[in-house]
Amino acid sequence: MNSPMRSPHKLLMRTRMLFLRNRAGDQLQAELQFHLDQQIAENIAAGMSAEEARRAALRLFGNPTALRDQARATWSWQWLESVLHDLRYGVRTLARTPGFSVLAILVMALGIGANVALFTVVHSVLLKPLPFKDQDRLVRIYEADAKGRFQDNIVAGGTFAAWQSQAHSFEQMAIKQWMHYDLAGANGQLPEAAPAHTVSWNFFSMLGVQPALGRSFTAGDDRPEANATVILSWGLWKRRYGADPGILGKTILLDARPFTVIGVLPAWFTYPDAKIQLWTPLYHEKSAQVMQMHEAHNFDVIAKLKPGVTIQQANAELNTIQAAIRLQHPTGPINDAANIRPILDAEVYDLKAGLYTLLAATGCLLLIACLNVANLLVARAATRRRETAIRTALGGSRARLIREQVIESLILSIAGGALGFLFASEILQWLIHSRQDIPRVESIHIDAIVILFATGVMLFCGLLAGLVPALSTNDRQILSTLHESSRSHSGGRAGIRLRRILLALQVGLTVVLLIGAGLLIASYRHLRSVDIGCATHDILTMRLDLPKGKYRKPDQIAAFYEQFLERARSVPGVQAAGLISVLPGEGRGRDDTFDIREHPPLPKGENLDATTRFVDPGYFSAMRIPLLQGRFFQPNERLDQAQSIIVNREFVAEVFPNEEPLGKHIVGGPGDSTKTFEIVGVVGDTLDEVSGKPYPAIFYALAIGLERDASLVVRTSSGHDPLQLALPIQHQLASIDPDLPVTHVLTMDQFLGTTTIDASFDATLLLAFAVLSLLLAAVGLFGVLSYVVAQRTTEIGIRIALGAQREQVMRLMLRDGLRPAIFGLVLGLVASAGVGRLIQSLLYGTPPTDPLVFLVVSVTLLVVATVACAIPAWRASRLDPITALRME
């Protein structure tokens, strides 16, 4: 039966029938006509008259149309023909009600667009594997606390060395540190502060990355005594060196030191993000002493597991090694455990909760959109019940009728999906532009999987929205429908019940979204209204990083800061200026351990620890940080004379709960752990992290000359735009050191905004989704009640004619419309109590069942629902009974 040579022929035939079916139709017609004519000719030859011959031939021939259809049916595209027919019919029906169709398509477009956009982000950022060799075996390793208080401490050089020599679970380990270099300008280029990574030599080979040009680091480059080498990112090479391959072997100045360029990385390499411009060998850049310490936590560790070793096994081994290190060093900030995360997980850990919450929210929005369209379709199905019933009575099969409805809703969802796709790419453009802080943001783009997802979502929406109303119409109701349609007052009870259920679900989902958004907004407001302990208005900040090569000695550093501050204060409009190593809200940055000279030694294994800051004498007054006791620094406390420190209130509370802090001494501090400093002042607390609590802090004099990174803070008179001072101050800076770049020129408010951008982003987007779904729910409520009123016109007319008060009618209809809303509200509140707990990690200062949020959401929903129902209810109460009764 099936000889293989026939298959291509069959395929050809089928294709021809598909594309040339109109021509084939004509040919069939001609063929049959020919047969008929032959018969007629034969009949005439047999002696019949022309008319007789024709009739006899036709009689013999049978029904030509049926014959044609039978022949066509063998052409094997019958199903397609009927689907095309349904499609045409669907488009025509939809075109007949353009208002409905446009509304439904827009609703679908919103839902699908938001989903596709969020899915693209989640897929690109959280799920897509990093493009490295054996990436499933690559891990990040952190130092951790055996009691589980913290899991993600960065690693000390000595600890890394111990792991590297003792652990057997790993093929290899690499170490890296984020830093920046001042890239000096050559040939009239401006200097720039280039973000960089310094890495152990095996970093690139472990990831399986080959430079696009030149060579990678070797073990020989990665030693203190080696010649300084650097690898450029593709972007830097193109931008700053005009993609000149001659750059290999040339020398560039980083922090005023010469480095030989040995390679250029490929364009696709953007790990950990696209901002990293330069790569240098770590053991060349760091002192051997730092790389042996267990106390100085500075580095990121990346490792490749041996094949077959699980993360749990490797982690257990490292825990043992780390616990042994702790035993050997019972004092000092040394951790007693380790923590391993898959590399991708480690990079995007902070984003996960927020992105998945947003994705879930768009999922809800999509479901609401589908329910809304389903709702609209149920309404249409109800108005077309008579047509459906007649078709069923005439023998239209139920499957065909259902298919027709599903095709109709598929047309809507595909049109909506196409529109939504455009919408999604717009959202993504905006998102990539506005959220450069997201790791891997450069990898966000629409790819085949996203398109597949979008198609899936489209089909899902079409089927869901189409099947719900299609399955709700029942064959057995035909007779009652045909009866019913003679009296219009009791129409479509089943349809209305279904629509009420859909509405209640929709309202419930909306409530969940509103409460989620409400909680995030409440938490963001808390975050932004936190008093971080210093002035935030009318403050300009900018960051300086003094290059090591040029500012080598403490007196050079101190002299630069003093000169710069003097010039900055001379700029008109500047009320006060100061310098600090790490701004409030910028993170903890640096902390050191110390002892109190006047206190007995602490038990083994315990140590005191405080945030370390360097400030100039004018910093506290410039930032309006209150002096609680003692004094600020004096201008003459510089270099070796800088022997005093200032501490904050939290420091006093923790270290000197019942003692006078002034005059006490600490032993330790920056640079030399045997040095002694005297406490001369106590200031108010400032927060290291906006969402954190105050830590004990020690402020050293910046003029001690040990710190090369500092931020300038400048206070202006109020009402004066602080940013206008930026340029004059930068001119002053250039007059001192024209090669010194400035970064992060921001007002303090802007600066704090960047540290809370995540929270504001999540809250804003979620609010947008929630408002959209509220709008959709309102449209749904309005539509259903309007429909109910239209259905019950006669009944209402009779009631009014019999003397019902208009207010009574209004109340009756309102109650009818609000019932699903209230049911949905209760449903949503219950669900929200659970959902709130799920997003707890995103909340700050807000309990997951914040009563205020629940109250505000309930009231908002009830008000919106009442307004949506009031219009049709009011219309019902205004009905003229005469007209209503005549409508029959």
Partner: protein, 109 residues
């Protein structure tokens, strides 16, 4: 008057293939030929003939070509393909076996 559709399924296909094994013919000629050879016993209904012809064409057993008929009009001529020739052989073998079997029963019983 026997109707081919009353016969064992596939018989009409066999008759058409056999008719076309001699030369290419158009639909009307096929019907005529079957009628003549069978001594007017078998009359092929157009309602069966054309669907059968199109089905055979879809299967690739026969192919069609528009050509001038004996009266000078354009007509669709069907001819056997190589696959059709094989199909004819196997169907004829089937038919022979079947009719022989039926004959045996008729004679013995």
């Amino acid at each position: 008057m026997g109707k081919p559709s009353d016969l064992v399924q596939g018989t009409l296909d066999l008759l058409i293939l056999k008719t076309l094994s001699i030369e290419a013919r158009h639909g009307w000629a096929i019907a005529k030929r079957i009628q003549q050879i069978s001594g007017e016993v078998l009359q092929v209904q157009q309602g069966s003939l054309y669907p059968a012809l199109h089905r055979l064409e879809q299967q690739g057993w026969i192919k069609a070509k528009w050509a001038e008929s004996e009266t000078g009009r354009q007509a669709k001529f069907y001819s056997l393909t190589a696959a059709g020739r094989k199909q004819l052989e196997s169907e004829y073998a089937n038919w022979a076996r079947l009719s022989e079997a039926i004959n045996l029963i008729m004679q013995e019983a």
